[in-house]
């Protein structure tokens, strides 16, 4: 992960660095304060920080009981989400980790039934089997296999446990069928208190490792669909300096020639946008270091036209496609994105221009919005009118919203790392990724 030398400003990099050394409670408090102070603010940075923190939480927790793990993660997750309720990715990651633990616990229990009762009757399985068919099981096993082979990788605290699980994992499987000791249902939890729950922890850690991997690869996975959506000589309008969008466009630019019109998203993100467009190094260390070395589109021979946000309507009649990044996606297909997105999406709708949103699945939140205003965060008013105009600031009410809620009907297509989806399909992906009992953590 990013290892920046020199003094660290509080942010993702410093957090990840201290995560290894600090005690876990300090790290939790650290992340909470970072979130509160908005020193970690990009969706992905928040997600990454949360995932790493939860990994440490789980590996540091001495308990072996799945329920206790769930409780612990829920407790930490609630605190994190309360720290910054508008960073919905934090909640998403917490929910996914909870889902992982539950899956593992249920796997285990099923494994118990299968092994101990030799498939004599499968009543306990039926409710489970309905909503989660066997492919989930196989996927889980597959995951655990892959996880086992990769185990030495996260070599910090997880290493001894995973080593243990390597050895211990086959042991109950081989020995159990022969031993009728645990046939009684009451003795099941007592008897397997140690072996399987150790497995749970290791496998949950593996699962979190996969989530972290996903966070690292998501932009490239999304970019892989680029050629399916961008044709030659197209004019594409985009907004803000989203790296997901940039990678998407870069991927297409390797093969095709098109034109990009880039609205600068003035007061909040224009510097980063200018840097993205011109290829200058952004001085934003919250972006992961690899991204700052990314080539700009202009280096690939793509014509980039930078416009102020106000010119969007004037140019929309020439635009073939609008590609937007987002802050988070809601289960109803609407999205919370940088301020100004809504008016762009509207203008596109008016001109019958398709609007495509690229977003990792991790930004997909199971929240159904009812109170849109509560989703919106307001930022530094001095970006709109600097304090040099102090007399003016005193007299008037300056507003600087950071986010817009964009209703689903303005979006034509979502491209996630799983492929392209209609907005109306998103609820299904939500139910694939989050378990019902975790929707309200």
């Amino acid at each position: 992960m990013p290892s920046t030398s020199g003094p660290l400003t509080p942010g993702l990099a410093s957090f990840l660095k201290t995560l290894k050394t600090n005690p876990i409670d300090t790290s939790i408090d650290n992340l909470i304060s970072l979130l509160k102070r908005r020193q970690i603010r990009h969706s992905r940075s928040c997600a990454t920080a949360t995932a790493y923190l939860l990994r440490s939480v789980i590996s540091a927790s001495r308990t072996n009981d799945a329920n206790k793990l769930i409780e612990r993660v829920q407790y930490v997750g609630r605190r994190l989400m309360a720290a910054q309720p508008r960073e919905m990715v934090v909640g998403n990651i917490v929910r996914r980790v909870l889902g992982l633990i539950r899956d593992e616990a249920e796997d285990d229990r099923e494994g118990d039934f299968n092994l101990s009762e030799a498939g004599s009757e499968s009543q306990p399985q039926t409710p489970r089997g309905l909503d989660d068919p066997t492919d989930a099981l196989s996927a889980r096993h597959e995951g655990s296999d892959r996880g086992a082979s990769r185990n030495p990788l996260p070599a910090l605290t997880a290493a001894p446990i995973s080593m243990f699980s390597l050895l211990s994992h086959p042991e109950p499987e081989n020995s159990l069928p022969g031993t009728p000791v645990s046939a009684s249902p009451s003795g099941r939890w007592l008897g397997f208190g140690h072996g399987p729950s150790k497995d749970i922890r290791a496998e949950v850690l593996d699962g979190i490792g996969e989530i972290i991997d996903e966070l690292g690869q998501v932009d490239d996975q999304i970019a892989a669909y680029a050629l399916d959506h961008i044709h030659s000589n197209e004019i594409i309008l985009t907004h803000t300096s989203s790296t997901t969008v940039q990678k998407f466009l870069l991927k297409a630019a390797a093969k095709r020639k098109f034109t990009v019109i880039h609205a600068e998203s003035y007061p909040n993100n224009h510097e980063a946008t200018h840097a993205t467009v011109s290829g200058a190094n952004p001085h934003d260390d919250e972006l992961l270091s690899t991204e700052s070395f990314q080539k700009p589109l202009i280096a690939l021979g793509i014509t980039v036209i930078l416009i102020p946000d106000s010119a969007v309507f004037a140019l929309m009649s020439r635009v073939n496609k609008v590609i937007l990044g987002t802050h988070s996606v809601l289960a109803n297909g609407g999205l919370v994105a940088a301020a100004g997105t809504r008016v762009i999406a509207r203008a596109a709708k008016v001109h019958q221009t398709p609007v495509v949103v690229v977003s990792g699945v991790y930004k997909l939140s199971p929240v159904y919005p009812f109170d849109f205003d509560s989703l919106i965060e307001y930022g530094d008013a001095s970006k709109v009118i600097s304090y040099e105009d102090g007399d003016l600031v005193d007299q008037i009410d300056v507003q600087n919203p950071l986010y817009d809620y964009v209703p689903a009907e303005l979006i034509d297509l979502y491209i996630t790392n799983l492929g392209g989806h209609a907005p109306s399909y998103l609820y299904r992906i939500v139910s694939d990724h989050y378990r019902k009992e975790d929707i309200s953590v």
Binding site: V277, I302, P308, A314
Partner: protein, 583 residues
């Protein structure tokens, strides 16, 4: 739109008094204009420091130019097309002429001399070539827009000296670039779709203006270019008032008559103005009316009488079409405002300002939400005026439209023009505001009311914002933010350098040039430290910046156009236009 000039039609109760007051104020402004556009402080010293410099600079540049041909390529002399050679020769000639003029004017009044020295540096910039001229121009052009205070300071000694020196230094650096590269680059920097709108660059100085052009017109041109006089009505009024002075100063040459010759004389002024900034629709309409009035004069009328007639005509045109029209519009638009309303407006329209102030004066309780946009921030002055008047003002930028519109109960917009197909042609971003008002999700549509004098109606039609538009200098988009001026402390340092530099200039021109170049280099590095990543955008291939001025709002977003002839639907625009032009 905005009128940052004092020409803003003052809502004085006596309509007849209004034109006279505006006359005096603009006269004052125009009189004050030459000093602000040229250098006000210690003119004589500066002259001396500047006078040798243009010479040395142009020599340098010439040397650079001649040195460039071997430098560009081994066969570069052959590569220069005849057109290029001609252009260079012309530029050199202009430089020489400017220098001569500077020498000639050195004993004369400080104002013209300052101007001349400016022209000197400008012409050297021109033949210094390539990006040098444009960056230097950008430097000196970027700031004045922001306010008169910076205007004077920028155009004060330090500004002009460092600007000129910057031009020289850059000229030395980049002269090797050659002219072809420049052409190719500018082509590359033009957005293809808007190719038809990139005419010649906006005039940056008064150099090369015809001798027929009246000094007041020269000043107005620069004011319009720098958005000091900005907004359709303000430009129209200012143009008419300046033309009144032109007509006052005009004497019919021998062998021709006033109605025949004055029109051509005016068209020189008009050409000059349009090179500073393309004329607005209202200006065009006013000029058309004026020309009609001129041609209607009987050639046998004595000159004094004819001039008096024209002066009277201009005064009554301003009074009828703008001053009184604005009062009528403000009156009827203010009636639309009710207690508890939340009025959303975009940028800074003078007529909307008048309306809101009037409604406030009538004791209505309402809130105003101003949406503003880069790069002109016209709404800021509107916000200030309204807040000073005691209104409840909320201010956000274009990214906050959907938040501002949520609470809105009415949208008031100003206009640059109304086209014959009922569309509103106004400051870029207006269409977004109107669209948001009409397409509020799940809510009632917000009425969109346009306040527009009939002088802004045109018989042109527009379907999109691309065919008809105005392209402003893209460098305006990268101009430093206001915040950076706090950190831009080295400017005074440059100012302290410049007197020293001036002293040296008395000693030896070469030393002065070197010092100036150093100062320029310093200020350049400082500028780069604080400036945005876009500073070098002209050098990076494939990157284009687009700064359009207007957009076209579809007629269906406009519910009502309030004019001095009544409140109309947008479809009535062509009828009203016909009526008002046939009168």
């Amino acid at each position: 739109m905005t009128s940052s000039t004092p020409t803003a039609p003052s809502p004085s109760p006596a309509a007849a008094a209004a034109p006279t007051t505006t006359t005096t104020t603009t006269a004052a402004a125009a009189a004050a204009a030459p000093p602000t556009t040229s250098t006000p402080s210690k003119p004589s010293k500066q002259q001396q420091s500047q006078k040798p410099k243009p010479a040395s600079k142009s020599k340098d540049a010439a040397a650079g130019g001649s040195g460039a041909s071997p430098a560009t390529a081994d066969g570069a002399t052959a590569q220069l097309t005849p057109a290029e050679l001609k252009k260079r020769a012309k530029a050199e000639k202009a430089a020489r002429r400017a220098r001569e003029r500077a020498e000639r004017d050195s004993g004369a009044a400080p104002g013209p001399a300052g101007g001349a020295s400016a022209t000197g540096s400008a012409s050297t910039k021109k033949d210094g070539g390539s990006a040098a001229g444009s960056t230097g121009g950008g430097g000196s052009r970027g700031l004045p827009r922001r306010g008169s205070a910076q205007n004077t300071s920028q155009n004060g000694g330090s500004g002009s000296v460092s600007g000129g020196a910057g031009g020289a230094a850059a000229g030395m650096d980049k002269s090797a670039g050659g002219a072809e590269a420049k052409n190719k680059k500018t082509d590359d920097k033009n957005v293809a779709v808007f190719g038809h709108l990139y005419g010649q660059q906006r005039r940056t100085t008064i150099a090369g203006a015809g001798k027929e052009v009246h000094p007041a017109v020269l000043a107005l041109g620069l004011q319009m270019r720098d958005y000091v006089v900005c907004g359709s009505s303000a430009r129209c009024v200012a143009t008419l008032l300046v033309f009144k002075r032109v007509i006052d100063a005009y004497t019919t040459p021998m062998g021709t008559s006033l109605p025949r010759h004055l029109t051509t004389h005016l068209s020189h002024q008009i050409t000059y103005l349009s090179t500073c900034r393309p004329l607005s629709i209202s200006q065009g309409n006013a000029i058309r009316a004026l020309k009609l009035a001129i041609s209607s004069i009987d050639p046998s009328t004595p000159e004094a009488e004819a001039k008096a007639f024209l002066g009277e005509f201009i005064d009554s045109f301003i009074r009828e079409k703008i001053t009184v029209a604005d009062q009528v519009i403000a009156g009827s638009a203010a009636q639309k405002i009710q207690d508890g309303d939340v009025i959303v407006t975009f940028a800074g329209s003078s007529i909307v300002k008048q309306t809101l102030l009037l409604a406030h004066k009538q004791g209505k309780k309402f809130r105003v939400s101003i949406i503003d946009s880069r790069p002109l921030f016209e709404g800021k002055s509107l916000a200030r005026t309204l807040a000073n008047a005691g209104l409840d003002v909320q201010y956000s930028l274009i990214h906050g439209i959907s938040h501002a519109i949520k609470a809105a109960s009415k949208v008031f917009l100003g206009a640059h023009a109304m086209t014959s197909n009922g569309r509103l042609y106004s400051r870029v971003g207006t269409a977004l505001v109107a669209m948001s008002a009409k397409e509020r999700a799940g809510g009632v549509e917000v009425p969109v009311i346009v306040c527009c004098e009939t002088v802004k109606f045109t018989d042109r039609v527009a379907l999109d914002s691309i065919v008809v538009n105005e392209i402003a200098d893209a460098d305006e988009l990268i101009s430093a933010e206001p915040m950076q001026q706090l950190t831009d402390l080295p400017d005074p340092a440059a100012a302290t350098v410049s007197p020293a530099d001036a002293k040296k200039g008395a000693k030896s021109a070469a030393a002065a040039a070197a010092a100036a170049a150093n100062a320029a280099a310093e200020s350049n590095t400082v500028a780069q430290n604080v400036s945005s990543p876009l500073t070098g955008w002209k050098e990076s291939a494939n990157l284009q910046l687009l700064n359009i001025m207007y957009d076209v709002t579809p007629a269906e977003y406009v519910d009502m156009v309030v004019t001095e002839m009544g409140s109309l639907p947008p479809s009535a625009v062509p009828i009203v236009h016909r009526m008002s032009t046939n009168l």
